[in-house]
């Protein structure tokens, strides 16, 4: 199969980072890339929503919400069973893994475009839905219904973070103006998507490498969890996709949503609400282990397996 160049950008960044090359993109550039990717995914999803049957999709959002809680509880349960971590750390990690990584989702979308497999682009709406429940769950698991600094800051962080607002905004704009309406926006948001994704992954590689020193510090248990849970999460995601009768492409996206862990919304929210949890632990797991794993191994692996076993995949 053809090598996807965006993945090589991640490898480049990761390698450069390990060698301590001085080339982190300025944070302003990273933010610009994030904004463009979020809007781009949102717009594409919205255009598809405009052409889909909304009444059919709405109940699926509820199903996906349940998936977020299932994933969070699964992660928390496994971590507590292992007795390796205090309650607060287990809850914080559960919040990360029940939530999702938009970057990984973008890689899966690029993968499907490259191999030429159709998918339900409106799944962008699922990304939005999944941003929320696991984070709230994580907080409740530690604080009950009274987080450290009150709910208002937390809810603000979760619902009004860049991720939710831009994805949702893109979805609505795409939904309102339709495929024809966004045609003037395509050069920047659609045609250049893979180029921006390449730059984003270059940066993410550098970031992941800068965290990788922490892996050793946090021990093999974390490593095992951060490599093992994605596999479980992918299965959960694929099962939910099957429950919702999605296509093979859609099933890959759902698997990736299940397998990926948040490294933007969750860290910020957990830092404020469960400050006694060690932020290094959950960030190392999601950013330095799970993200690279999914990008390099997970996406093609899940696809290979799904091609073979997913109902109707012709495998």
């Amino acid at each position: 199969m053809q090598l996807d160049p965006v993945i090589l950008f991640f490898v480049l960044g990761f390698g450069a980072g390990l060698l301590r090359a001085e080339m982190r993109l300025p944070s302003a550039v990273y933010e610009l890339l994030t904004v463009i990717l979020l809007l781009s995914i949102g717009l594409k999803g919205g255009v598809e929503l405009a052409e889909a049957d909304l009444l059919q999709i709405l109940p699926r959002l509820g199903t996906v919400l349940i998936m977020g809680i299932v994933l969070g509880l699964l992660a928390f349960g496994l971590l507590r069973l292992s007795r390796a971590l205090p309650r607060s750390d287990a809850a914080a990690i559960a919040a990360h893994y029940g939530s999702v990584s938009v970057g990984t989702y973008a890689v899966a979308v690029a993968f499907l475009d490259t191999v030429g497999v159709a998918y339900e682009a409106y799944s962008a709406a699922f990304v939005v839905v999944l941003e929320v429940p696991a984070i709230l769950l994580g907080i409740i698991l530690v604080r009950g219904l009274r987080p450290q600094n009150g709910w208002s800051d937390v809810l603000h962080e979760v619902f009004l973070g860049k991720g939710v607002v831009l994805l949702l905004g893109g979805l609505f704009i795409g939904l309102l103006v339709g495929r024809q309406g966004i045609s003037d926006l395509e050069p920047l948001f659609i045609d250049a998507f893979k180029g921006f994704l390449a730059l984003f992954l270059l940066e993410m590689g550098l970031v992941a490498a800068s965290q990788s020193g922490a892996i050793r510090r946090h021990g093999t248990f974390l490593l095992l969890f951060a490599l093992g849970f994605p596999l479980l999460g992918a299965v959960v995601g694929a099962v939910f996709a099957w429950l919702m009768a999605m296509s093979l492409g859609g099933a890959l996206l759902m698997a990736v949503l299940g397998a990926s862990a948040s490294y933007i919304a969750a860290p910020a929210a957990m830092r404020l609400s469960v400050p006694e949890a060690n932020p290094g632990l959950s960030l190392t797991a999601s950013l330095a282990i799970t993200f690279p794993f999914n990008v390099l191994v997970g996406v093609p692996l899940y696809y290979a397996v799904l091609s073979a076993v997913y109902p109707g995949a012709g495998g």
Binding site: R24, S27, V207, P267, P275, E276, P279, G280, L283
Partner: protein, 103 residues
């Protein structure tokens, strides 16, 4: 003519809470600059997703400074990266920095 200059170096994530605490204690203003650094809780810079620091300065009366520093110790020192120090400074319109000052 003399007031206290209180400097707090801490995680960016705390900015909102910090400002609330400073203003509630009766300070009339504050100044923030972006910073990075290292301390007991390791390296903190934009290169690490643990994020940057902020460096907040407040010019105020000694009592206000003590109050802020007590509250910060109580609420954040245990779980957050935080450093805090006090200096004497000479200001020209001291009433501009007083909890009871008239604008």
């Amino acid at each position: 003519m003399n007031r206290k200059l209180l400097t707090v170096i801490t995680e960016q994530a705390l900015e909102r809470q910090l400002i609330r605490c400073v203003m509630e204690a009766g300070a009339r203003g504050y100044t923030i600059t972006e910073a990075r650094g290292q301390g007991q809780r390791g390296l903190r810079s934009a290169d690490f997703e643990t994020g940057c620091n902020i460096r907040l300065e407040v010019i105020c009366e000694e009592t206000v400074a003590r109050q802020i520093s007590t509250r910060l110790h109580r609420d954040y020192f245990q779980d957050f990266a935080m450093v805090l120090y006090l200096e004497d400074v000479e200001v020209l319109r001291p009433e501009k920095f007083d909890a009871s000052g008239h604008q």
